[in-house]
């Protein structure tokens, strides 16, 4: 199956939850310095649940589409359940074969989310 599926391209060119939030609880950023992919992620947390999520990013289709798909997945979920999230979930969401060279791209959004979750007590 081709890595550039309609879903991937659609999320890359029209990312869901794109943009900053007005009053986020948490704001984190992560990058892949070797390829220049960047993601800045914001979460609004209410009663232990993700009430809103927004991100701003630059990078390849895989890194940006993965973040967009993950944002859909994370929104309105309980923090406790998100802390159990595994990288395998990202591969499920992407639903295309990821070669070893693109693993870092695929998991940049996941790493950014992990960083944010660690800040929640």
């Amino acid at each position: 199956m081709d890595i550039y599926s309609e879903t991937i391209l659609d999320h890359y060119q029209h990312p869901h939850h794109a943009g900053s939030l007005s009053n986020p609880t948490i704001k984190v950023a992560e990058d892949n310095p070797l390829c220049g992919d960047k993601i800045s992620l914001e979460l609004t947390i209410k009663n232990g649940v993700v009430a809103d999520i927004g991100f701003v990013g630059t990078g390849c289709a895989i890194s940006q589409a993965a973040m967009s798909l993950l944002a859909d997945e994370v929104n309105e979920k309980k923090i406790a359940s998100l802390k159990k999230l595994k990288p395998a979930k990202v591969y499920d969401l992407l639903h295309v074969p990821i070669s070893p060279g693109r693993v870092k791209c695929a998991l940049l959004g996941f790493a950014t989310l992990q960083k944010a979750l660690k800040l929640i007590k």
Binding site: L9, Q13, L34, G59, C60, A61, I62, C105
Partner: protein, 407 residues
């Protein structure tokens, strides 16, 4: 330049069901049969350690290893083989200048000049040295046409300048740097010049005495030789003023319990068993290049760059990072497409069997100056043809189609 592909067995490979089109030569080159057989021949007939055995095999391997030193000297126009140090790669050759010469010749307030075109290999060692010595690192900028700004260079030079570290050709823009001019200007103020020749040796004729540089570094693997071999040329009168940067066996003359004396010339810098087999196979690469002729290779490289620029500039969505005058560049063509990350470009090219590089090309500050996050890069060598560029153009069309971008 006919039938060259047949001499490179890897070019028979298929990638994703398509014939391999290898356009990542600025990163490393492929190897001809003569180099592969030289490697096997050495291990099957003459393998032994060098410089220390009395037996036949050791004498043979020593003679073959030292013969390549002579070949390298002749190939780059050095005075003799005593100006040629073998290292593991170009990066180590540059670090050798830093540790063996610069550490004892650069002090507080001195200035080191590098250019904005440098690969990390010829930038990071000088950042570190400047920090350690409290010296000042100055950067020659580039013009909007991706050329080195010679006027700015002239202004940076002063009696404080002790060392100028400059690439002969950019691995990102393909810009050819007028190194002879750079050297002449540096010598007026008494500065030494180190040239990073990784992208030019094996692509065009190089003569270090004509350039009159003090140090010249390059790698065997980018010029059809094996990986694991680099070369540092040092002007003979400077060699004796340099101290070893690695100590151990082979580089010593005599060793007592508390002290030791060292060999002179390049042998002082080659501690331990060197990369004997790969150096010997590198000799076969030099012979191969000499047989084809550097002038013919340079013309071929230029022809391919001209063709690639013509094909790729026909697409309005494609931005090329290449000097406008073809005479100022060679072998390398970087490009970007608005709305498509270079990693995605490289992935789609690979689906078509076309190997290109994408990213920062070990030249992060230069990519920053180009105003993009990364670029895609095609780089050519003697076994490439215009058909390879046609295959790349086909891949480019696929990129534009997938990302729904107007040609």
């Amino acid at each position: 330049m006919k039938n060259i592909q047949k001499q490179f067995p890897i070019l028979k490979r298929k990638i994703n069901g398509k014939p391999l089109v290898y356009l990542d030569n600025a990163s490393t080159s492929q190897k001809p049969v003569v180099v592969l057989s030289a490697l096997q021949k050495f291990y099957t007939t003459s393998n032994a350690n060098i410089h220390r055995g009395i037996h036949t095999l050791s004498e043979e391997s020593t003679a073959q290893y030292e013969d390549v030193r002579k070949k390298v000297a002749k190939f780059i126009g050095a005075k003799n083989e005593e100006e040629i140090i073998f290292t593991k790669n170009c990066t180590e050759a540059i670090n050798c200048v830093s540790f063996s010469w610069a550490k004892s010749h650069i002090s507080k307030g001195d200035e080191i000049i590098v250019s904005a075109l440098e690969h990390h290999a010829n930038l990071v060692p000088w950042q570190e040295l400047a920090k350690e010595k409290d010296a000042i690192l100055k950067i020659i900028p580039i013009t909007s046409d991706y050329l080195l700004d010679i006027d700015a260079y002239e202004k940076l030079l002063s009696e404080k300048t002790k060392l100028v570290c400059i690439t002969a050709q950019s691995n990102v823009t393909g810009t050819i740097v007028p190194i002879k001019k750079i050297t002449t200007m540096a010598h007026v103020v008494g500065a030494k010049v180190l040239v990073d020749g990784a992208q030019v040796v094996g692509h065009s004729k190089v003569n270090v005495r004509d350039i009159d540089c003090d140090f010249f570094a390059f790698s065997a693997h980018k010029m059809l030789g094996p990986t694991g071999v680099g070369v540092l040329y040092v002007k003979q009168e400077l060699m004796s003023k340099m101290t070893p940067y690695m100590y151990g066996g082979d580089m010593v003359q005599s060793v007592q319990e508390q002290t030791a004396t060292y060999r002179t010339g390049p042998w002082k810098f080659e501690a331990g068993t060197p990369n004997i087999a790969d150096v010997i196979a590198f000799g076969a690469a030099i012979e191969y290049l000499n047989n084809i002729g550097l002038a013919a290779i340079a013309i071929h490289d230029r022809k391919l760059l001209t063709y690639a620029k013509k094909r790729f500039s026909a697409y309005s969505a494609v931005k090329l990072f290449s000097p406008s005058n073809i005479a100022n560049a060679s072998s390398v063509l970087s490009f970007a497409i608005t709305g498509v990350h270079p990693h995605d470009i490289a992935t789609i090219f690979n689906q078509e069997g076309v190997a290109i590089r994408s990213g920062l090309h070990c030249a992060e500050p230069l990519i920053g100056r180009l105003g993009v996050n990364a670029t895609a890069r095609m780089s050519f060598y003697l076994y490439n043809t215009t058909k390879d560029i046609d295959a790349a153009e086909k891949a480019l069309k696929k990129v534009l189609k997938i990302f729904k971008i107007k040609e």
